[in-house]
């Protein structure tokens, strides 16, 4: 699995035999094994890309209102929507097998997964209806029965990324928070990065990239206690 170097802290982006890359938590497209998954509107679509230059539509499933994000992890696919998070078994590359829906108050919600925990940010605001601003940690040890473990209050949460014990959550106009996730059920905030509007963040094993409104920031987080700024690509 490679959409985020979640529990793999090597510098490699993607495993050689799979040869795909890594997207952020706000992605609507993702690749897992030989399939391309696309979400949007009310649907999840599955394309066979075993011949990469000839994507072939395999199946589509109507899920519900406001399907927004997709995140693969091992043989599962996590789909974020305005009304909740859907969990699919994707061990059969030609089929989508829905396992569960974790419902929440209407809001925008990207999700990332590591081990048996899913991390979901929920955000209110004009585009997200009436949600609250939260980071939910969900027990997914039984994929068919996701259970909320803990909700942490946030300010303006957007995209997020986790790698080992480091969890980074973009807080929109408030920047980005770094959490110690050694114990996901008891996250502790380590640092607040305040210099940018944080939309999304991708961890890549050693470095991370934050997509902000005024630029793309890169940091070295190999020492969690001393995350170092590397560079910024400016936005005009």
């Amino acid at each position: 699995m490679l959409a985020s170097c979640a529990s793999d802290s090597s510098n490699d982006v993607g495993l050689p035999q799979q040869n795909s890359g890594v997207g952020g938590s706000l992605a609507r497209f993702t690749i897992a094994n030989n399939s391309l998954y696309i979400v949007g509107g009310e649907d999840l679509h599955l394309y066979d890309i075993s011949n990469p230059s000839n994507p072939r539509k395999k199946t589509k499933q109507r899920l519900g209102f406001g399907i927004e994000t997709v995140f693969p992890y091992n043989d599962a696919l996590f789909v974020g929507s305005q009304n909740g998070m859907y969990i699919f078994d994707i061990s059969d590359p030609t089929k989508l097998k829905q396992l569960a829906i974790y419902s929440h108050i209407t809001s925008c919600d990207p999700v990332v997964v590591q081990g048996d925990r899913a991390f979901v940010t929920l955000r209110d605001g004009v585009d997200c209806r009436f949600g609250s601003n939260l980071l939910d940690v969900i027990d997914i040890s039984d994929l068919s029965n996701p259970k909320l473990l803990k909700s942490y209050p946030m300010q303006n949460p957007h995209g997020l990324s986790i790698d080992g014990d480091d969890l980074f959550v973009c807080e929109g106009r408030f920047g980005m928070k770094q959490f110690d996730a050694t114990n996901p059920d008891a996250l502790t905030e380590k640092r607040l990065f305040e210099d940018f509007f944080g939309y999304d963040v991708i961890t890549l094993g050693k470095n991370l990239i934050v997509i902000g409104k005024d630029g793309l920031y890169q940091y070295d987080y190999s020492d969690s206690d001393n995350v170092k700024f590397l560079s910024k690509i400016d936005v005009n």
Binding site: R28, L36, I49
Partner: protein
């Protein structure tokens, strides 16, 4: 052009556009009969919007999704295309080129194929090198419909897909609009 036209190039972005009409959830929305200020879609032809080509590097203005593969960062420029950044040295990333893709929001890559949305089409692009691309496959109307509405709230003329692809919005006086965005 009408001096009141303001072109907004709205992306069918990751932000779901919670809009009404024909209504799913319009409780409490009052749809006036008669004239009201609002937004009207501007339609483009499919030929206009399906042209994809590679260009020299341009500045980031409105970055969206990002995808990382090997030494390269692919950074979406909302509704315009993808910046290709050589990130071999993360302390000094180099903006190498730009793939011009109208209506682009997302991407994913496998091998040297990058999959992108070009408005409602899914396109597979062979990225031979950062200066050379080859369009290998186009699947029309493959991208899930997100319920087109302007990012700005208010009344708008409902989108009629038979008229083409929405490439922008203009502020006009509407008559008895049936659509509304919170």
């Amino acid at each position: 052009m009408h001096n009141k036209i303001i072109l907004y190039f709205f992306a069918l972005s990751f932000l779901v556009l919670s809009s009404c009409g024909p209504c799913d959830d319009c409780d409490g929305i009052n749809f006036p009969k008669g004239e009201v200020e609002g937004l009207k879609p501007i339609y483009g032809s499919l030929e206009q919007v399906k042209a994809i080509h590679i260009e020299s590097a341009r500045d980031l203005e409105n970055p969206g999704k990002i995808y990382v593969k090997g030494q390269y960062l692919y950074i979406n420029e909302r509704s315009k295309g993808i910046h290709i950044i050589d990130n071999s040295n993360p302390t000094a990333p180099i903006n190498v080129s730009f793939i011009n893709i109208p209506g682009n929001i997302d991407m994913a890559a496998k091998g040297n194929i990058i999959y992108v949305d070009n408005y409602k089409d899914l396109v597979a692009i062979e990225l031979i090198n950062p200066q050379t691309i080859n369009i290998v496959k186009r699947l029309e109307n493959a991208i899930p419909y997100n319920g087109e509405a302007p990012s700005e709230g208010g009344y708008f003329e409902c989108v009629d897909q038979s008229k083409g692809v929405v490439i922008g919005w203009e502020r006009v006086t509407l008559v008895s609009p049936k659509c509304y965005r919170q």
